[in-house]
């Protein structure tokens, strides 16, 4: 060390998808600063969509070119098979979520104004729109890309914040039910900050134990460093809290229903799909790359967390009356099912890649279905905006059979009925778990699925076998973007349910290389 700082070597090609997304986000900020208000939306939408599509193309190009075998950016970022698969998934899900965001109606005109105040009226009157939604979403997506690919804990922390901060803001921008939305944003922010602190503290303790924040080096230190186990265990647990919070695993799930309910529905869709995928990617990376040698140690704890998550998610969903809260609890339960897959990772490499590919497939399947479901939620409206109360959905099947049919189909996919993508997702994860010796966990999972099926089917019964309310909600004619989202989600759910092989194969290929160290 002679005082000079060496410029890091960066593998730009490998990092290109992230660079494109972040670059577009910065361009978006410039647009926000310099372009006249009436032009902004027209500029933002193509930039956002093109950058996401471009990043997706670059991801594909990486796969075609050959998956890198060494971490990039001086060991800070690992662009490996699972990363690329997760990137592809996130980028597609973000693309469809942006199509939903594009539907003008969801965002408030002036977020800082008191709900219902004169300022708000005025802003609305002036036609002020929140076009910064687009760069904010892009920053969040960039964070989602970096999060599962980061190969050291500090980069991961930065990614976590880059992903989360824009989402905190976006949550507060709902046009209707303003108070709820603002409350959600603040809650999400406070609790997110709280859990980030745990993550950071865990990082510090692990650094104390291993002398490095590099995941590979932590792994190498396991068992070599003696007498410091206290640091290690507390550090791992705290890191785990930070990651499990993002997944919404019990007992860290409390934020999810409140935030999903309050956030503008397109943002909920983005969080429920993209954030979940990214968080699972990061969780898997930490537990495999850094703590793989400890699996006898963390898996009993994860067993407990997985069981609690499935049970809490499934049981609490039963008494929900708000459609978005119900979907939030459903998302918690699905997080639990995915954790079953995480637990399924055993010592044998074959078993690992099997479990990993099952999780990856599940994430794709769930991501599409959930975006589709939230897209349908945006379309069922009454005078006060979205018809959030479940009782308002009664008899929807008689008023608009097509939309109700599609929603019923999504619900069946959530429940895991054969010939939908949800079935194969669950089947793959549970099968991997049985092979990995976690049969009791699978039994709990199946029982939880049965409980969950109850509240999914209850909505179907409500839609098709109840008399419609006299002043029931009307189904708005979807904008082209929303219609496209619903269409894509239906197609993906059907396709993955009937022809699961191609994607399963892709996931297996991605999982073959496992995570690189």
């Amino acid at each position: 060390m002679n005082g000079t700082i060496q410029a890091p070597t960066l593998e730009y090609a490998q990092l290109a998808p992230m660079l494109v997304v972040f670059g577009a986000a910065i361009v978006g900020v410039l647009v926000e600063a310099f372009a006249p208000r009436y032009l902004r939306s027209a500029i933002h939408v193509p930039i956002t969509l093109l950058s996401l599509a471009g990043a997706f193309a670059l991801t594909i190009w990486q796969v075609v070119k050959g998956v890198p075998t060494k971490p990039a950016a001086m060991g800070a970022v690992a662009v490996d098979g699972p990363s690329l698969f997760i990137w592809g998934t996130i980028l597609v899900l973000a693309f469809v979520s942006v199509l939903l965001i594009n539907d003008e109606d969801h965002f408030v005109a002036a977020a800082a104004a008191v709900p219902g105040s004169a300022e708000e009226e005025q802003a609305l009157h002036e036609g002020a729109g929140h076009t910064e939604v687009y760069p904010l979403a892009l920053f969040a997506v960039g964070g989602m890309l970096l999060f599962p690919a980061s190969n050291d804990l500090l980069v991961m922390f930065v990614a976590l914040e880059v992903m989360s901060l824009p989402l905190y803001l976006l949550c507060g921008l709902a046009r209707r039910r303003r108070l709820l939305s603002q409350e959600a944003a603040v809650k999400y922010f406070l609790l997110g900050a709280f859990s980030s602190a745990f993550f950071l503290y865990g990082t510090a303790l692990l650094y104390g134990y291993a002398g490095s924040i590099d995941l590979a080096k932590i792994s190498a230190a396991l068992g070599v460093v003696g007498g410091q186990e206290t640091l290690l265990y507390i550090g791992v647990a705290m890191l785990g809290v930070g990651l499990l919070f993002k997944i919404g695993a019990a007992p860290f799930q409390a934020w999810k229903p409140d935030v999903y309910q309050g956030a503008p529905t397109p943002i909920t869709a983005l969080m429920a799909s993209g954030t979940l995928v990214a968080a699972f990617g990061a969780l898997l990376r930490v537990f495999w790359v850094a703590l793989g040698g400890l699996d006898w140690n963390w898996s009993p704890v994860l067993w407990a967390v997985a069981i609690l998550t499935m049970v809490v998610g499934a049981i609490l969903a039963i008494t929900q009356t708000d459609i978005k809260r119900m979907l939030a609890y459903s998302s918690i339960a699905h997080g639990g099912f995915l954790l079953v897959g995480v637990v399924a990772t055993g010592a044998a490499a074959g078993q690992n890649s099997k479990a990993l590919s099952a999780i990856l497939f599940y994430l794709v399947a769930y991501g599409f279905t959930t975006v589709g479901a939230f897209a349908v939620v945006t379309m069922v409206r009454d005078a006060g905006g979205e018809a959030w109360h479940l009782s308002r959905w009664a008899g929807l099947g008689k008023r608009s059979p097509l939309l109700a049919g599609i929603f019923a189909f999504f619900l069946l996919a959530f429940a895991g009925i054969p010939l939908t993508s949800g079935f194969f997702g669950k089947y793959a994860v549970f099968q991997a778990a049985v092979a990995g010796g976690a049969t009791p966990l699978v039994i709990v999972g199946v029982v939880a699925s049965a409980v969950a099926a109850f509240f999914y089917v209850r909505v179907i019964v409500l839609m098709f076998f109840s008399d419609p309310a006299a002043d029931g909600p009307s189904v708005v004619l979807p904008s082209r973007g929303t219609a496209a989202v619903v269409g894509v989600a239906v197609l993906a759910t059907v396709f993955l349910g009937v022809f699961p092989q191609p994607v399963l194969h892709l996931a297996q290929n991605a999982a073959q290389s496992l995570f690189i160290r």
């Binding site: 265990y233 785990g240 007992p251 409390a254």
Partner: protein
Amino acid sequence: MEPAEIIQHSGGVIGASWLMIALPLLGAAVLLLGGRKTDKFGHLLGVAMAVASFVVAALAFIQLLGFAPGERRRGVELYDLIPGIAKVGLLVDPLSISFCLLITFVGSLIHIYSIGYMAHDPARRRFFAYLNLFVAAMLVLVLADNYLGLYVGWEGVGLASYLLIGFWQHKPTAATAAKKAFIVNRVGDFGLSIGIFTIFATFHSLSYQGVAEGMAKGGSIPATAIGLLLLLGACGKSAQLPLQSWLLDAMEGPTPVSALIHAATMVTAGVYLVVRSGPIFQATDTAQLVVTIVGVATLLAGAIIGTAKDDIKKALAGSTMSQIGYMMLAAGIGPAGYAFAIAHLITHGFFKADMFLGAGSVMHGMNDEVNMRKYGGLRKVMPITFVTFFIGYLAIIGFPLLSGYFTKDGIIETAMEHNAILGWLAVLGAGITGFYMSRLVFMTFFGKKRWEADAHPHESPAVMTWPLIILSIGAIVLGAFLILGNRFMLFLSPAVGRPEELPSFHPFSTTGLATLALVAVGVVFAWYRYGSAEVPGVAPRGSFLTAFARRDLYGDALNEALLMRPGQWLTRLAVYFDNRGVDGLVNSLAALIGGSSGRLRRIQTGYVRSYALSIFVGAAVLVGAWFVVGNL
């Protein structure tokens, strides 16, 4: 001789044989989803899809003929549904391609005929959509290379049949008939599904290939149980005793449906199932014996029912039951009978479709009158219908050199060789066939006019008569073509095997002559009763035998007494237990879950401070747990 190995195939028309299924399926989808916009051209699209499917089948057939006989079982893998458990694949072999050709060819003709028959129906588009759906499902049934695919097709044709029987659902009788068909079939399908489960549990495979290999390997295989379960499924779909009762009521559907689904194709699916499951049935004498007994019992029962019906379609339906009984009998005999079973199935497909469409043509001209006592003397006003119908009639009674003569005689000869009692009963059945079919023809086309005052019978339009003409040509020549020189048996043998010694055709065997003599007696007796004598406009009371036949041999009464009443009693009992026992358990479980949901819900206070607290406590527990586990 054993069946040949299945060779994996890709490319060519056979590789694209899924198009056969996809095209009519697409047609159905467009017509059902397209709504009224497709009303104008719906019928043409339906016909086009059926014909296109036939073209694919014909090309695949030609390609198949290009292979050496031992290489004519081509498996087409489409994709892996559940790795290690279920693949989706097709099997194009002599057996399945025979069915494909029959289904798509007769299907196309019936589509064309329906243009005329349904011309004035406001829901014609929907009718064609269902017909297309049926064709697609039937092709799935016969083309699948495994029992799961077969089951999908099986249920698909059941659905199409239900929709089409109840097509005129404004008629309560049609709606009831559709429900009856569905429920009776449910009994059969229940057997089939349990049979398929047993197959999977035994062989760990659902493919025909896997089953054949498993059977060859031996070991303890519950072949008899599987065979009887499959037979139950076959009885349901093919209207064999004891699940025959739905077919007569199914005639409530439009006549083209009766011709296509309830005569030519779907109802023969049971025969296909038995033949396709040959490796299982051949390992169990018991199941084979039961198949032959069911076949003989049904062929007699159907024939007896046919003698007493005044409704032209119901008489034909009884005849269908009876003819399928013949096929079932042959299928139960084993490789010696398979070729005759399928050959009779094909010729029957032609002559029975011919006669059903002929009956439709008559009804079309007679204001939809179905009572034969109100017909009479129609041969002069509908010459084409009469001639084609008469050819079908000659074919079914086994008039020498027409189709039925060759195929039915083949079955009777084989049965005679297999078991003399079964053989003579089959001969008796042929005699009764001669009687009831002649009765039908004499009452309809001969004798005096007994028309209603407002009936103005006329020949049907060309779009309806041409299919009749083509079908009647098939009814004349197909039998000789298939049977002479054992052409069909040799063609079919790679798929189902054949006896070492090929049967030879004796035109003047004892059995053959006895059959002809009995048929002649039947015809003459019918002429004496219905041709030369006056036919009363109202059915006479008749003997107790007539009443017996008229009431479908008390099949419905039997069902009611044996199944429906005890069934209702059982449901009442089950409901009682359900309310008291099961519901108590389930409700308390549900209450427990619901209650805990309600209680747990209170944790979600909405206060961010309590959320943070829960995170904190959770983290503390997690740290503690890690610590404990780590230090174990």
